[in-house]
Every structure is written in structure tokens, then in C-alpha cells.
Amino acid sequence: MNRRIFCKSTLFASTVATFNTIPLSAYAYKDDFVKLTILHTNDVHSRIEPFPMDGSRNAGQGGAAKRAAMIKSIRSKEKNVLLFDSGDIFQGTPYFNVFGGELEMKLMSEMKYDAATMGNHDFDAGIEGFMKQVKHANFPFIVSNYDVSENELSTVLSKIKTWEIDGVKIGVYGLGIALDGLVPKSLYGSTIYQDPIERATKYESHLIHEEKCDYVICLSHLGYKYNSDSVSDIDLAKSTKYTNLILGGHTHTFMREPDVQNNQNGNPVYINQAGWAGILLGRVDLMFEKGRKKRKNIWSRNLKIE
């Protein structure tokens, strides 16, 4: 059922191909390596209970209690886990219509989400409605491209966040979609959408150069890809320099395997999205290498360019 799609980075693959001297059993040197597991959801859309058993396509799938059990089981096996959501927590079942998102926030807090970004539907109860529910969240919301300086959201939204895990520093920024046309103006009020690529390049650079992060993740609600000229995660990946991983949303894309695009520096950027409604739990396992062996990887990267 859980078909594993093992996806080697081109970085690693080319290293192996070029330098046979690097032992494949390198991970045996445990002190040199840190493993980090990133779990993520998107567009859960108030799917508190599994889809009803009514013979429909998704019958019995999803549900917060199942997701929590799966997350708990992974946490019991993995030392370093980060849990993110890429927006549209709200809207889709009566739980939202009746309780305004209170239960969604409480359950995500109970599951120990580390951060989330805002989706367009998270404005569905207005800024006031979001402010009311965010009190039930014990995790931060990260949105780097909404200017909220003129409204209350400024007190609860962060532009970036960093985590230091076993000596590895992870930097996260978040991108929201253009609200005009998607959300009534009366709901998003004085929130100003800013060019996501311009903001992304600014904050990824800040995370690398100022915060000295080792790895940069974008929680994106832009959408995976479009036929129109709307900005997508693919556009984002191609336009940035330091973002390593994009955890997407909005387009409800069930990805069989991550998309890999080359960034401005010719390095791979991974894009993943976990469908919607909590039917899937996205999982990214990362291996970090500590110490002074950096040169060989830089070397391999440049060999690729050559």
C-alpha cells in the first residue's frame, strides 16, 4: 500500500557516480549524519472525520484521528520530526460552518504541528474569524508575501521561522496565493498580496545569509502548476536560488512522486503536495552531513554544471 518512491538527489547521485571512493555505507558514521523527517499536509479543508462510508470515491479515507495515529507512530520511530501544513485548513465540512475552524486548530495543536501557512479559504471567516480561531493554535502561521501591516493579522503572522535540530538549521518561509478574485475583499480587508517570487528571493536569501540556515523550505499555497500565467510552485522553484523544498497546496494535487526543477543556480528544488482532505500525509526524509566534507559536494555540483 505504501509504495516507497525513493528519490535520490542528483547531488548525491552524481557524487556517487563520480567518486567511487565515497563509501555507500557512509551513513554508518552516525555522528556525521543527521536525519530529519518532515511531515506535511495541505488543503485538509475541515475534514475532521474520514469521508463518510457512502460508496463515494474517498469513502473511509482521511480523518484527524487516523492522521494523528500515523504521525505518532512516525514520531516514535524518528528522532527529528517537523510537521507542517500548507494552508486551506478551513472550509469543506459543517465543522467549519458551525464552529468556524476552532476544532481544526485544536486538533492541529494536539498533533503538534510546527507551523502552517495561510490558504485562501483560511480567510473564509474573515480576518476577525481567523483571529478568533488562531487563539486555539499553539503553532505559528508563516506568510511572507501578505502585507498585513494595516490589520490584526500582523500580530499573528510571521514572515519566516527557523528550527535548529541536532545542529542542523532549517529555515521556513511561506507564500500565499493572490486573494483578489478568490476571496471576497470584505473578508481579506486590508491584506495586500505581494509578488511571491520577489518575496521568496528576499526571504530565502535572508535565511541563508543572515540566519545561516542549512536548508530552506517554502510552505506554499500558490498551486503546483497552471496553464495560465498564474504563479505556480514550478515557477517559484525555477526562479529561486536557495529554496530546497516546496511543500505545496491549493491545486489538491496527488503527487505520485515529487517534481524536481532546477533553480537559478542549477540546483534541484523538490516540490511535493499531498492531495487534499488529509487523505495523504506527505513525508520527506532528509539526510544531512555534518563537518568539513562540504567541498566534495560543491565539487560534484560544479562537475554537473561543467
Binding site: 500500500m1 505504501n2 516507497r4 528519490c7 547531488l11 548525491f12 557524487t15 549524519f33 543527521v34 475532521i48 473511509g60 479515507q61 480523518g63 484527524a64 484521528a65 487516523k66 492522521r67 494523528a68 495515529a69 500515523m70 472550509q91 469543506g92 465540512t93 459543517p94 465543522y95 460552518n97 458551525v98 464552529f99 486538533l107 494536539e110 498533533m111 538549521k169 478574485g181 478568490l182 471576497p184 540556515c213 542549512d214 495560465s228 523544498l245 496527488f254 505520485r256 515529487p258 523538490y270 511535493n272 492531495g275 487523505i279 500525509l281 506527505g282 513525508r283 520527506v284 526524509d285 532528509l286 539526510m287 552531513e289 555534518k290 563537518g291 568539513r292 562540504k294 567541498r295 560543491i298
Partner: protein, 249 residues
């Protein structure tokens, strides 16, 4: 020579770089939460009181449906029922002068509704998303584009004042309020913000000016059924060939 330059550049970069940790490997997989996945009891306990309240609200009976309704193309009893409720409610309760109204086929989320009691929950199932109603105006030429799109998609729920045939994936013999479509006339119509914003392949509507009524489609249905129940009426629907499939050539 190029190699040497690279080497020097890299060497400088390496020694000037302060971070000494970097990622070497990545594995990504999406795990499915299927029906066999165990559940976390603590989470179920948190949900329980909310579930009881939701069930109570959703189980409220607001009307009676005289017949079973089903969702089909090109027209259906369920689609016609929803479309006419929308049209009636906008015309009577909201006093709007609109030529027609429509909904996208995919926006109706159930395939059938059983005859008998109509609960609030049933209406939520039909329309789970808070799509609000948008009113826009366009000339007959764009209306033709819209109807062609609906025809190519096999037919959508449209209000009773529309009539057309689907011929080779195009809308033909179009009648609006018993008059043939006039390509130069300005028409006013109501639809969901989702479609107006380009959803269901309607990107040609995206740039049009619109007025969002700030009114959910679902609430219009709930209000309509409640009002008619108060007036002693039960719910009904019928097929009237408002969209008809003609044989391909």
C-alpha cells in the same frame, strides 16, 4: 584551464562558507490514510462533543422531497431543482433582475438525493463549499462561449429560462426567456464565485466585472426550502428538456 578556475572558485567558496552542514540525500513519499489506518483515541475524544453538536444541527429536518432526485447530464432532476431554487430565490427574495442562472456540474457533490425528509446535512452534502453567488453581465457573444463550454462539458444545471441543444459539443438553438440568443444583447446572470473566477474551465469569465452578493449558494437553498415548508409546500422537480442532446452527424 576552466577546470582550474572552477577549482579555485570553489576552494574560496568552501573556506569562506560558515555553515558546515548540508543535505546529502532526500526521500519523498506520500502515505495514504486509508480505512484500515488505526485511530488516535485522544483525538477522537476531542472531536466527540463537536460531533454531537454537528450531528444535531445537521439532522434538523427543513422540508420534504416528494421524489428521488438524481444528478445526470445533459439535464437532471437534481440539477433542475437546484437551478430553479436559485433563480426563484434571487428573483423573489432578493428582487434581482437576472436573465438566467447556472451552476457547474462538478459543484453538485452528490449523485442522488433520496425522497423524504430533507435535512440541513443533506444540503451541506450537496454543496459542502461556501461558494457565494456572483452576478455578472456579458454580451450574447460571451454567453454563446459560456453555453458552448457547458455543451462541450455535457450539460450543467441551468435555470428553467434557458433552452438549448447540444450538437457536436456546441450549444445550438439557444433560447433565453423564450427568445433566441441575441449576440449583441447584454445579459445578466448569476453563478457561483468559483465559476466566475475561472473554475471548471471558465477562464474566459475571469476578467468580467462582477458583483459578489456575499450570499452562499447553500444558504439560498436552505432558505428556499424552509420558506416553502412554512408555506405548506413540499419539494419537487421535473425534466423539461432545457438542455437536449441531439444526435451527432
Amino acid at each position: 584551464m576552466i577546470r582550474i578556475t572552477y577549482f579555485i572558485t570553489l576552494f574560496i567558496f568552501t573556506i569562506s562558507c560558515k555553515t558546515s552542514t548540508y543535505w546529502t540525500d532526500i526521500n519523498i513519499e506520500n502515505q495514504r490514510l486509508d480505512i484500515y489506518q488505526t485511530e488516535e483515541e485522544q483525538i477522537k475524544d476531542i472531536i466527540e462533543p463537536y460531533k454531537i453538536a454537528i450531528d444535531k444541527e445537521m439532522n434538523e429536518v427543513i422540508g420534504t422531497l416528494e421524489m428521488e432526485l438524481s444528478k445526470q447530464r445533459p439535464e437532471s432532476t437534481l440539477g433542475n431543482w437546484l437551478s430553479d431554487m436559485l433563480q426563484d430565490e434571487l428573483e423573489t427574495t432578493h428582487n434581482l433582475d437576472i436573465d438566467f442562472s447556472l451552476q457547474n456540474h462538478g459543484g453538485v457533490r452528490v449523485n442522488s438525493v433520496a425522497a423524504g425528509a430533507i435535512t440541513v446535512g443533506k444540503i451541506y452534502e450537496i454543496m459542502p463549499f461556501d461558494n457565494s453567488i456572483v452576478v455578472m453581465s456579458a454580451d450574447g457573444e460571451l454567453v454563446k462561449v459560456l453555453f458552448d463550454h457547458i455543451a462541450a462539458d455535457g450539460g450543467w444545471p441551468v435555470s428553467r429560462n434557458i433552452e438549448f441543444q447540444i450538437q457536436n459539443d456546441k450549444a445550438t438553438s439557444i433560447m433565453i426567456n423564450d427568445e433566441p440568443l441575441d449576440l449583441n444583447k447584454e445579459y445578466t446572470f448569476a453563478l457561483s464565485d468559483y465559476v466566475a473566477n475561472g473554475g471548471s474551465g471558465c477562464s474566459f469569465l475571469k476578467e468580467l466585472e462582477r458583483e459578489n452578493l456575499g450570499l452562499y449558494l447553500r444558504d439560498v437553498f436552505l432558505n428556499h426550502i424552509r420558506r416553502e415548508t412554512d408555506e405548506g409546500k413540499s419539494q419537487n422537480s421535473h425534466l423539461d428538456q432545457r438542455i437536449k442532446l441531439t444526435d451527432h452527424e
